[in-house]
C-alpha cells in the first residue's frame, strides 16, 4: 500500500465526542505546530448541542500559508465510536487512522488502503489515573502525545505550552506530561515513527498570532472606545460578547475604585439589544451589538429607524448557515442581501468584510468611525469560520496617535457660536448633518428624533417634497461612504487575462490558493478581494477590465453577485457564480473546479497553448 508522504502539508482531523474535554487537547496540538513556526489552521466542526454528539477538529498544516480548508483527511484521530464508520471513510487512500484500540475494531469497517494505528488510550489512562474524570480527560492528552511521535511534533514545545497553561495550577503539569509520554512511548514502541506525515520546524509564522475572530472583534470594539454593548446570546456571535466582557474586566475597570468604564447588557432579545445600541449612540456613546442571521431579521425594524433617523450603530453579524435556525453551528455567508438592504422602505447599509482576525480588529474599530461619521448603521460581516476558529493572523495593530472620528457632533461651544442649528441641514454638502447629544447645552441644540418623515429642522412633516429632499440627501451619504470605506485588494496575475475572480471575507485564503491551482491548469486570473459595501470605483473598474468575473461566495443564491449587479449596473452575464453552501468553508479545489467547469471560454482556452 502506498502511504501518503508529506512534510508540513497535510490535514489532521480529530473525531471527538462533544463535551468530552477534547477541545483543550486539540488546541494544544494546533498551538504546538504554530510554535514550531509552521502555518496551521484548525477548524471546529461541532454540533448544535452541549454533550455527547460527534464533534470534529480539523487541522490543516500548510507551510506555504494556505490557510483555507482543504478536502480530504490525511490523518484521522478517532476517539468517537459513534462516528467511526464515517471517519474511516473520510481518510484519503494511503492516509492514517489513529484510534483507541482499547476495544478492537470490527473487521468489516477496516479499509486496506489506509494505515491503522491503534493506541490503547483508555486502557493506559485507566492504568495511570484513578479518578474516572481524569481518565476521560487525559485520554485526549494521550493522543496528542502519540502525535509527537507519529508526526514528529516537537515535544519540548508542547511541554512548554502545558507549563504555561497550568502555570497557576502547577500540580496539573505532571499528570498532563505523563499522558503525553504514555501516548508517545506507545506509538514509538509499536509503530514506525514518524509516519509518512512529518512536521519540520520552520520560521514561517513571523510575528503572527493565533486568535479567534470574535476575540479580535471584541478587542477592536474596546480599542475603538465602545462603552456600551447590548446583545442577546446566539451562536456563533456569543463569544464576541464574552470576549468583550472578559477583556473589559481587564482593560476597562478603574483600578482605584473597581468601577466599570463600560456597560455590558444582556438584553431580553435582539430587538431590545439593537434598541439599546440606538439609545446609547443617540445619547453620544459608542455602542454595538453582535448577533447572527436570526438576530438581524429581528433587528430589521430598528435598523430602518437608525438608517432613517440617522443614528450611528455598529452591528457585528457573525453569519451562520441559514435560512431560519438553519445550521447554527456551520458557516456560510448567507446574509448579504438581508443585511445590505435590511428593513422595509428604501434602505441600504454599509458593510465591512473582514477575512482575518487582524481585520476583525481593525474593521470593527473602523466601523465605529464610519458609523459616527456617516450617522448610520454599519455592519461587520464576519462568519462562524472566522469568528469561532483560531486563525493565524498578523498581530493586532493600534496607532496610539489615532483619534476617534466621532463625526459631526456639536459641542456646547459650537452651539453657543452658531447662528442656526438644524439637525438635518446638509451644511457641508456631503449628505451628513450635524447632530447634538442630549444634555449638551442648556437652551440650544435640542431636537426631536423620529422615524417619521421630518424636515431639515427635525420637525414632523408629511410634505412629499420635503420627504424627497431628505431621502435624496440620505442617498448622498451613500456616495460619501464610498470615499470612506476600505478599498478592495487586488492581486494581478503575471500575464494578461480575461478572467477575474472576486471574493470577500473568509473565502480569501481558498481563493488565493485557487489562483495558484488555476495557474497550474493554465488559467490565469486576476483577483480582487472586496472589503466593503458600498463598492468603490475600483470594483467597477475591475469588472470592466475583465471579460468574465467569477464571484466566489458561500451561499446558494449568489447574493454578493446581486449586490454587484444592483449597485454597479454590471452586466449579470459577465459575473459567474462560484458557490459553496454546505456549511463547510469553501476549499481551493472546489473553487478551481467550478471555475474550470463554468469557464465560458473553455473551448478556446483548450485550443490555446498554456503556460503549464
Amino acid at each position: 500500500m502506498l502511504s501518503i508522504n508529506a512534510v508540513n502539508d497535510f490535514v489532521v482531523r480529530f473525531a471527538n465526542v462533544n463535551g468530552s474535554g477534547s477541545a483543550s487537547a486539540n488546541n494544544m496540538f494546533a498551538k504546538a505546530i504554530f510554535r514550531m513556526g509552521i502555518p496551521v489552521s484548525p477548524k471546529n466542526i461541532f454540533p448544535s448541542n452541549i454533550q455527547g454528539l460527534p464533534t470534529w477538529y480539523e487541522v490543516r498544516i500548510n507551510e506555504k500559508g494556505y490557510l483555507g480548508r482543504r478536502d480530504g483527511v490525511d490523518m484521522m484521530i478517532s476517539v468517537n465510536p459513534q462516528s467511526i464508520v464515517k471517519d474511516i471513510a473520510a481518510v484519503k487512500t494511503g492516509g492514517y487512522f489513529v484510534y483507541d484500540n482499547t476495544r478492537k475494531l470490527h473487521n468489516e469497517i477496516i479499509r486496506d488502503d489506509i494505515n491503522f494505528i491503534g493506541i490503547p488510550m483508555m486502557r493506559m489512562c485507566m492504568e495511570h489515573y484513578k479518578d474516572p474524570r481524569k481518565q476521560q480527560l487525559f485520554k485526549n492528552m494521550v493522543y496528542v502525545g502519540a502525535l509527537t511521535a507519529l508526526i514528529d511534533m516537537d515535544e519540548a514545545v508542547l511541554k512548554n505550552i502545558i507549563a504555561e497553561q497550568f502555570a497557576k495550577k502547577p500540580k496539573l503539569i505532571p499528570p498532563n506530561e505523563l499522558a503525553i509520554k504514555l501516548g508517545a512511548d506507545y506509538a514509538r514502541a509499536n509503530y514506525e515513527c514518524p509516519t509518512g506525515l512529518k512536521l519540520e520546524t520552520r520560521d514561517a509564522v513571523g510575528d503572527h498570532i493565533m486568535i479567534e475572530g470574535n476575540e479580535a472583534t471584541a478587542l477592536g470594539a474596546i480599542y475603538a472606545g465602545a462603552t456600551v454593548m447590548a446583545w442577546y446570546p446566539i451562536t456563533p456571535s456569543t463569544s464576541v460578547a464574552k470576549a468583550f466582557e472578559t477583556n473589559c474586566k481587564k482593560l476597562r475597570v478603574d483600578p482605584e475604585t473597581g468601577k466599570k468604564k463600560y456597560a455590558f447588557v444582556q438584553a431580553e432579545d435582539e430587538l431590545a439589544a439593537i434598541g439599546m445600541v440606538i439609545g446609547a449612540t443617540w445619547n453620544g456613546a459608542r455602542a454595538f451589538t453582535a448577533t447572527s442571521g436570526p438576530g438581524i431579521s429581528l433587528m430589521s425594524e430598528f435598523i430602518g429607524l437608525a438608517y432613517f433617523a440617522e443614528i450611528p450603530a455598529v452591528l457585528i453579524n457573525v453569519q451562520r448557515g441559514g435560512p431560519s435556525t438553519g445550521m447554527p453551528t456551520r458557516t456560510q455567508q448567507p446574509d448579504i442581501i438581508s443585511t445590505a438592504y435590511a428593513s422595509h422602505g428604501d434602505t441600504k447599509h454599509v458593510l465591512l468584510f473582514p477575512s482575518t482576525p487582524a481585520e476583525c480588529f481593525e474593521m470593527t474599530a473602523t466601523a465605529f468611525d464610519l458609523a459616527d461619521r456617516l450617522q448610520t448603521p454599519v455592519f461587520v460581516m464576519s462568519d462562524l469560520d472566522l469568528g469561532m476558529n483560531n486563525h493565524m493572523s498578523p498581530p493586532l495593530k493600534w496607532d496610539d496617535s489615532r483619534v476617534y472620528d466621532r463625526g459631526k457632533v456639536l459641542t456646547a461651544e459650537d452651539l453657543e457660536n452658531m447662528e442656526e442649528f438644524g439637525r438635518y441641514l446638509d451644511v457641508d454638502d456631503d449628505g451628513v448633518c450635524y447632530r447634538t447629544v442630549p444634555g449638551t447645552h442648556p437652551t440650544k441644540g435640542s431636537f426631536f428624533t423620529r422615524g417619521t418623515s421630518r424636515d431639515e429642522y427635525a420637525r414632523y412633516t408629511e410634505d412629499g417634497q420635503v420627504y424627497v429632499r431628505v431621502v435624496d440627501r440620505i442617498l448622498k451619504k451613500w456616495e460619501t461612504a464610498k470615499s470612506l470605506v476600505p478599498k478592495p485588494q487586488v492581486q494581478w496575475s503575471e500575464s494578461e487575462t480575461k478572467f477575474g475572480i472576486l471574493f470577500f471575507g473568509t473565502t480569501n485564503y481558498s481563493a488565493l490558493e485557487a489562483m495558484e491551482l488555476l495557474e497550474e491548469e493554465g488559467i490565469q486570473v486576476n483577483a480582487m478581494r472586496v472589503l466593503a459595501f458600498p463598492f468603490t470605483t475600483e470594483v467597477e473598474d475591475f469588472i470592466d477590465k475583465h471579460e468574465y468575473v467569477f464571484v466566489i461566495e458561500q451561499n446558494r443564491d449568489a447574493q454578493f453577485r446581486s449586490l454587484l449587479i444592483n449597485e454597479l449596473d454590471a452586466h449579470p452575464k459577465k459575473l459567474i457564480r462560484v458557490l459553496n453552501y454546505d456549511g463547510m468553508p469553501i476549499t481551493a479545489d472546489n473553487i478551481k473546479n467550478q471555475i474550470v467547469q463554468k469557464n465560458p471560454l473553455a473551448p478556446q482556452l483548450a485550443s490555446k497553448p498554456t503556460a503549464s
Binding site: V265, G275, M276, G279, N283
Partner: protein
C-alpha cells in the same frame, strides 16, 4: 386643540428657581383630539417639571408610537426627544441611560405600546430597575389606529367594529408590583392635583418609577356600550360607513380627596370608579399593595395613588457598578488601552 397657539408671554410671568417660566416647559401645539386625556397628562408633566425646576436639557423624553407616544412633542420643547418605534421605548431608554447616567429619563407610552407589542421590554426595564419615569397613558384602546381594543381594555367593552372584548384586562400596575418594580403609582389624567406630585415623586425616585395613568380617548372611547350622549353623530357615522367625524370634547377633570372614591363620566356616557388610597397608606409594603389592588379590582374600582415605593432602590448603574462619569463623556485617553497593552495581548496569542 387649536392650531394657532398664542406665543405672547407676559414678561412678568413667574419663574422657577432656575429662572425658567412655565412656558419654557411647554411643547409644540398638540395635534391630538380636543379633550384627549393625553393632553391633560402633558400639562401635568409641564407643571411638575416647572415646579421641580428641572433643567430642560438635563431631561430626555422618549416614547414609542401612538397618540400617547406623540405627546413628547407637546411638552418640554427644550429637551431632546426621541419618538422611536412601536413598543420599544424601554430598550432605547435603557441604552440612553447606559450612555449617560446623569440625565432624567422620561418615557411615555400607550397601553397598546406597552401592554401588547412592548410587553417584553416593559417587563425587562422593570427587572433592571432602569432609572426612569415610565408613564403609560392608558385609554384601553389603540387611539392612533382608530380604536381597536388594547390589552388593558375592560372585559366586555365593545370595540368600534362592534365586537365585545372577551379577555381580562392586563393590570399594568399589578404586573409591575409582581415583577418587583421599585415605584408603582396610578392616577387619572383629569386629576392634576394627584398627578403632578406623583410625577414629581417619580422623577425623584432612583430607579424604575411606573405611572399607570388612566387617560380617556374621546374619540374611540370604548369603556362600555352606552352611546347616548352623541347618538345622532353615531347614527350619521354608521349610516355612511365613512367614519371621520370626531366631535370636539372638553377635557375631563376630577378632584376628590385621599381615601375617597369618585365616579367619573367619560365622553361616551359610561363611567369609571376611581378610588384614592387613604392618606395613612404605607406605600413601602409590596404585599399589601398587591392585596389592596386586588380588593379594589374585585369591587370594580380603579385604585389610584402611590401604591408602592422601595426606599432602598438601587438603579441599574449601581447594580452594574459603573463609574460616575457618564460613559458618553469619555474619550480615547480613558477608553483606549493603547499599544502597549495590545502588545501584551498579541503575545498572549502566540
Amino acid at each position: 386643540m387649536s392650531y394657532i397657539k398664542p406665543t405672547f408671554r407676559h414678561p412678568t410671568l413667574p419663574k422657577n428657581k432656575i429662572g425658567f417660566a412655565k412656558a419654557d416647559y411647554e411643547g409644540k401645539i398638540s395635534t391630538l383630539c380636543a379633550g384627549c386625556g393625553h393632553d391633560s397628562i402633558s400639562a401635568s408633566i409641564v407643571q411638575a417639571c416647572y415646579e421641580m425646576a428641572v433643567e430642560p436639557h438635563k431631561l430626555a423624553k422618549l416614547s414609542g408610537i401612538g397618540c400617547s407616544s406623540k405627546t413628547p412633542t407637546y411638552f418640554l420643547d427644550n429637551s431632546h426627544g426621541f419618538n422611536s418605534v412601536h413598543g420599544r421605548m424601554p430598550s432605547v431608554t435603557t441604552g440612553a441611560y447606559m450612555a449617560n447616567r446623569d440625565l432624567i429619563y422620561l418615557g411615555v407610552s400607550g397601553d397598546g405600546d406597552t401592554a401588547s407589542i412592548g410587553m417584553g421590554q416593559f417587563v425587562h426595564a422593570i427587572r433592571r430597575n432602569l432609572n426612569m419615569v415610565y408613564i403609560v397613558m392608558n385609554n384601553g384602546c389603540y387611539g392612533l389606529t382608530k380604536g381597536q381594543d388594547s390589552a388593558t381594555a375592560d372585559y366586555g367593552s365593545i370595540s368600534k367594529a362592534g365586537s365585545k372584548n372577551m379577555f381580562q384586562a392586563i393590570d399594568l400596575a399589578g404586573m409591575a408590583l409582581e415583577l418587583g418594580a421599585t415605584f408603582v403609582g396610578r392616577s387619572f389624567s383629569g386629576d392634576k392635583s394627584q398627578l403632578v406630585p406623583m410625577i414629581k415623586a417619580a422623577i425623584s425616585h432612583p430607579g424604575f418609577a411606573f405611572l399607570d395613568v388612566i387617560s380617556p380617548c374621546v374619540t374611540f372611547n370604548n369603556n362600555n356600550g352606552s352611546t347616548k350622549s352623541y347618538d345622532f353623530v353615531r347614527e350619521h357615522i354608521e349610516a355612511t360607513a365613512a367614519i371621520d367625524y370626531v366631535p370636539p370634547k372638553a377635557q375631563i377633570s376630577v378632584a376628590y380627596a385621599e381615601g375617597q372614591s369618585a365616579e367619573v363620566k367619560l365622553h361616551d356616557g359610561s363611567s369609571i370608579h376611581l378610588s384614592k388610597l387613604a392618606p395613612h397608606w404605607n406605600p413601602s409594603d409590596r404585599n399589601s399593595a398587591v392585596n389592596r389592588l386586588q380588593a379594589a379590582k374585585t369591587k370594580g374600582e380603579v385604585l389610584t395613588g402611590l401604591l408602592y415605593i422601595d426606599p432602598e432602590s438601587q438603579d441599574l448603574h449601581e447594580l452594574q457598578n459603573t463609574v460616575g462619569t457618564p460613559l458618553n463623556q469619555m474619550g480615547e485617553s480613558e477608553l483606549c488601552p493603547g499599544n502597549e497593552a495590545l502588545d501584551s495581548i498579541n503575545s498572549s496569542f502566540r
